[in-house]
């Protein structure tokens, strides 16, 4: 009798339950993206400040002539943008969510 009483009786299959699980997973993923994003922005800010300081000391003076060369600046800007895009893609593409 005890076995009969204690066995599972209801079939608690529910789509809402499954949706709830994936909602939690997605929320955790969004939180992680926000943390990674904030860390990336902070990191970039630190790099920019460091570069700026470095430029003021010697780099700027050494390569001053290049700074006024528009074509050179365009190449540098494109290269930096490409590097930033590749790094961002690498950082966020962990294959968990497509």
């Amino acid at each position: 009798m005890l076995e009969q009483l204690l066995k599972y009786h209801q079939n608690l299959l529910s789509d809402d339950f499954v949706k709830g699980v994936f909602k939690r997973i997605e929320k955790a993923y969004q939180t992680r993206i926000m943390i990674l994003g904030a860390c990336s922005i902070l990191g970039m800010a630190i790099v920019l400040v460091a570069l700026n300081s470095f430029m003021q000391i010697s780099w700027y003076q050494t390569f001053e002539k290049y700074l006024f060369d528009t074509q050179f600046l365009v190449y540098v800007a494109v290269a930096l943008l490409l590097l930033f895009t590749v790094c961002t893609r690498w950082l966020f593409d962990d294959g968990e969510f497509s």
Binding site: M1, L2, E3, L5, L6, K7, Y8, H9, Q10, N11, L12, L13, S14, F17, V18, G20, V21, F22, R24, I25, A28, G95, E96, F97, S98
Partner: protein
């Protein structure tokens, strides 16, 4: 690809290697009844807490799926996660355990819902350890060795908890008035 025909190990491998969630959805669908019922018995019918813990258990399973090495069954692994979450929960909010000497009115269940409610009512008379081993043994139909893996209790303790819980429940049923 028919996922319902895949074994647990194949589903875990697919869930880890593929970027879509179909394999993990299949795991949740396959085990949600068992884990939700397990936690309902442990919480003695607190359905809100039980479902919340069950969702958290599957969420943790998703995060830690890569650590599953296939040494035990997926069923045991999921029960272990659920049980640990339950232990954490009762540290925050201790369980309400009713006096085992007090008789209860047991009526013949007319539906599956009533039968589960009655089983949950009976669980209120057992300690947390007794609820866990009794549910794993009688409801989830696990072997003693699997129960040891899930609860991390020594085999002798598991057997004595089962025995003690059986005696308690038999006495309770004998003392109670069975209404047909």
């Amino acid at each position: 690809m028919n996922l319902s025909q895949k074994s647990d190990q194949e589903l875990v491998a697919l869930a880890i290697s593929s970027s879509d969630h179909k394999a993990f959805t299949e795991i949740v669908e396959r085990y949600q009844v068992m884990i939700r019922q397990f936690l309902r018995r442990l919480t003695a019918g607190d359905t809100h807490m039980a479902d919340d813990l069950a969702q958290e258990a599957f969420f943790l399973a998703f995060q830690k799926l890569y650590t599953y090495q296939g040494k035990g069954t997926l069923k045991s692994w999921l029960h272990t996660i659920a049980y640990r979450l339950f232990l954490k929960q009762i540290q925050k909010k201790p369980l309400l355990e009713l006096d085992e000497n007090q008789s209860i009115l047991i009526s013949e269940p007319q539906s599956a819902l009533e039968a589960d409610l009655l089983a949950e009512k009976l669980m209120q008379r057992l300690s947390a350890d007794e609820r866990v081993v009794m549910t794993l043994f009688m409801s989830a139909e696990m072997s003693h060795s699997d129960i040891v893996k899930v609860t991390n209790l020594p085999l002798g303790t598991v057997k004595s908890h089962i025995q003690r819980a059986k005696v308690k429940l038999h006495q309770l049923i004998e003392k109670s008035q069975l209404v047909a």
